[in-house]
């Protein structure tokens, strides 16, 4: 079905050619090894580049929300600002602190960055641009992203600083609670699609995105996922762990240079990861907008390559997250837990039941109007 349309800008052919040439010219082990290295390098580059773009975009958009211009000195419109920042962070001295548990202190940022890297690896960026496709993709993503919190806790503990400690404690409470909601929201869609694999999920959303397919229930799950994802990434209004007005910088108060850079990078990438998972699970991932039967329209949509679709949808969600972040005051810890345990979680539990009923009684859009999709 998919291959019926001409897709000139996809990487499919290039990657296929690469694979066959490599395997034709050398033993399979070596070919695999080279492919691994290529993939790893590509991911590392993408990781850094996306973070840089995100940092720039956030600063610029934030500025416009706040009646400012944002960075505008380094390059035209300040586009090289985040590059300059990156160089600065790389060159900055890493300050060694007395009376800290050195091993944990230096290990903590790696937990953060490794966790977000692991998650990053499982995201389908486009057609064929999918490094590992587990058949338990959703579960995998929830599992490895939960490792990041250990970095926060250890950073807070090992800094030997009371502000950091309070930040870490808050972070722990926050993360443990909101992971529940995020997980349940994703489960709602797993119920709908009957699969945990990202590729299968995307394939099922060819004509009808999950957010429409499960209508009420899906939309509720989508909103809850966005809220709890936002909370998991420790960004305002849920930025209590690093609440600058009370804890100065929370758990990363004592970090400098590249150590801080890791936390910073991971924070931005986590924002991207949450948005891209939401895109994949709810908004059809890299799949272009297609309407059943309208082949010309579909062909036209396929001319826009899948990765552009993916990044476009993700960008919209990231914008939404920025918009929320810069509109609201920070929650207090009890408000935060109230929101989770008194509102999100009960609603979520009801929602998952509603979804089960919708699926079992054939009330999803695809069941109701099979001719349309």
């Amino acid at each position: 079905m998919l291959s019926n349309y001409s897709q000139p800008l996809e990487f499919t052919k290039l990657l296929g050619w690469l694979d066959t040439t490599l395997k034709a010219n050398m033993p399979e082990v070596w070919a695999n090894l080279i492919e691994f290295v290529i993939v790893a390098v590509a991911f590392l580059t993408a990781y850094a580049v996306i973070a840089l773009i995100l940092i720039y975009a956030e600063r610029k958009i934030t500025a416009f929300f706040q009646a400012r211009f944002g960075p505008n000195r380094v390059g035209k419109y300040g586009i090289f600002q985040s590059v300059a920042d990156m160089i600065k962070i790389l060159l900055k001295e890493i300050i060694h602190i007395n009376n800290v548990d050195k091993f944990l202190f230096y290990a903590a940022p790696f937990f953060m960055i490794v966790a977000s890297m692991l998650t990053f690896g499982a995201i389908p960026f486009g057609k064929m641009l999918h490094a590992v496709d587990f058949n338990i993709g959703v579960l995998y993503v929830t599992a490895v992203s939960s490792l990041g919190i250990i970095g926060v806790l250890l950073a807070g503990w090992s800094s030997n600083n009371k502000y950091s400690m309070i930040g870490a404690m808050r972070s722990g409470a926050q993360f443990v609670s909101y992971e529940l909601s995020a997980g349940f929201a994703l489960m709602t869609i797993v119920v709908l699609t009957g699969t945990m694999s990202f590729s299968e999920m995307i394939a099922k959303q060819e004509f009808c995105w999950n957010i429409f397919n499960g209508h009420i229930s899906s939309i509720v799950a989508f909103v809850i996922y966005l809220i709890s994802g936002h909370a998991e990434t420790n960004r305002g209004p849920f930025d209590l762990p690093e609440a600058e007005s009370e804890l100065t910088a929370g758990y990363h108060t004592e970090y400098s240079g590249l150590q801080f850079g890791f936390f910073y990078l991971a924070e931005y990438l986590n924002m991207f990861i949450i948005a891209s998972i939401a895109t994949t699970v709810f908004l059809g991932g890299w799949m272009p907008i297609q309407i059943h039967g309208l082949d010309i329209f579909n062909q036209f949509m396929w001319y826009i390559p899948s990765y552009v679709w993916f990044f476009g949808k993700t960008a919209v969600l990231i914008f939404l997250s920025l918009w929320v972040r810069w509109s609201f005051p920070r929650l207090r810890i009890d408000q935060l837990l109230n929101l989770e345990w008194k509102y999100l979680l009960p609603i979520n539990l009801v929602n998952i039941l509603v979804m089960v009923i919708l699926v079992l009684s054939g009330l999803t859009l695809t069941d109701l109007f099979p001719s349309l999709f």
């Binding site: 058949n135 929830t142 490895v144 939960s146 250990i150 443990v176 009957g194």
Partner: protein, 167 residues
Amino acid sequence: MAQQIIFFILAAMIAVFSVLAVTSKRIIRSATYLLFVLLGTAGLYLLLGYHYLFAVQIAVYAGGVMVLFIFAILLTNRPGENVKTERKDRRIAAGITSLAGLAFCGHIIYWNVNKMYTLVVPAEQKIQDIGLTLMGTDKYQYLLPFEFISVLLLACIVGAIMIARKR
């Protein structure tokens, strides 16, 4: 070949960090070493192709239990202070006991490891199967134990709230 290498790396990691976890005097470090052990185990599952088990191991142990461990350690006042090394005779006794335990376990594993190969089918489990197994009421299905555990956890939560309320 590659699998073998990765296996040995993981095995070494598990072994080293388990020893470290026990010998470290700082409790928060022990917890971190334990975390590495759990991650190594998860790696073994991945090596075997048990993706589901791998994800659950990470989500439940590394992401859940360890977070709670560390969280609990952070809540205690000055953990790990005033820990004394044990007396020499006690240490020797402990060493002998653990060696005996190792020998016992090793014996069992050595004599049964061949049988295990025949039992385990290296095929990817479907999520649906796992779900049905957990929630079914037939033979080799586990709804009852599952619910038992749920009730147990509920009791724990109620107990915790009762204790917290008293303060």
